[in-house]
Symmetry: C2
Subunit: 201 residues, 2 copies
């Protein structure tokens, strides 16, 4: 059975958890307490040299890391990852954009605000990341004009990846009030059969 | 014909340029002077709302952004992107890792050192990124133990993406001396037929 090395509050881990539930795919959840250093042990570093969750362990012990690569692996051959070459590339485009321009800002700000407090020597970086987080939300809002989902007219892993930290952006102090298209899109994603919230073990 | 919105010194743009040459695929290069704000014009933001190069424009005017998504689009159906599901996911894993753990550190440090100088208020961030850059090189060095390339026994887009900023890491002050496996791997990649250096227009 698939094993997911998981941390409940992590949006990155939630991506994999959510997709496996949407696909009705059974898996074993293994809690890794990242705040207590459990992702930095020698044993864990053999699964992911970067020391981060999520990690997906396959039946034969093979470990995959990087949340968006795990999404693509699980979604291959399902409607969550288009077969068409250009649409596939567009899905990847948003997945890479999420990891470069969205997550390092919105998720990091949320992590500081919600879990560990803003480090005293990182106040300037915090403000910069807040501004870049708002910029990322603006890019999403503009892209969603006249579109139900990020790529084509169906929900794909691009939407799931972006959903993960956008729907909890308020926990980092981001206000989704000025982004009505994002709010309507969040509702559409959460409306999918089999959808489970981030808090569900 | 394919059009690449390009900036010669950019490792991200080089990825697409290099792969198209390795594939012997003709394309038109359009220079965008990112230091002069040419990637921030209204016209350019319609091609990539993030205001970054590279952008690949297809025959019908469709624009793709995010360097690693462009790599996957171009490589689809070629030996540069494996067809096997697990190997494909491993390639994606390294592509996402490159954009999250490698490029933001090694490329940013190089950009500051080579192009614009280290901003006075970013000295602490600079030091942090240098340390994370060295950590990224260490992860690569360890992974290359007993492996000729990052995934399987052939050169894939994962190698090209990682090559782009690793081979110019010295321009950011990174010393590849302690990383013999990385140096041997760089040589292997540069030895591919059709390979062109980053300086070639």
């Amino acid at each position: 059975m698939l094993r997911l090395y998981d941390y409940l509050a992590s949006g990155n881990a939630y991506k994999a958890r959510l997709l496996m539930r949407l696909l009705d795919r059974p898996f074993e959840r293994i809690d890794v307490d990242i705040l207590e250093g459990e992702s930095r042990t020698e044993e864990f570093l053999r699964k992911n040299p970067e020391g981060r969750i999520p990690v997906l362990e396959l039946d034969d012990g093979t470990c995959l890391f990087e949340s968006n690569a795990i999404l693509c692996y699980l979604a291959e051959g399902t409607p969550w990852l288009p077969g068409d070459r250009l649409d596939r590339a567009r899905v990847l485009q948003w997945l890479f954009w999420e990891q470069y321009s969205h997550e390092p800002n919105i998720a990091t700000v949320r992590h500081w605000v919600k879990h560990v407090g803003v480090p005293e020597d990182k106040r300037a970086l915090f403000e910069q990341k807040r501004a870049l987080g708002v910029k990322a939300l603006s890019v999403m809002e503009r892209h969603l004009e006249g579109r139900p989902y990020f790529v084509g007219d169906r929900c794909t892993v691009a939407d799931l990846a972006l959903y993960a930290y956008t729907h909890v952006a308020d926990e980092g102090g981001f206000d989704l009030g000025p982004f009505p298209r994002i709010r309507a899109w969040l509702d559409r994603v959460a409306d999918r059969p089999g959808f489970t919230p981030i808090t569900q073990r």
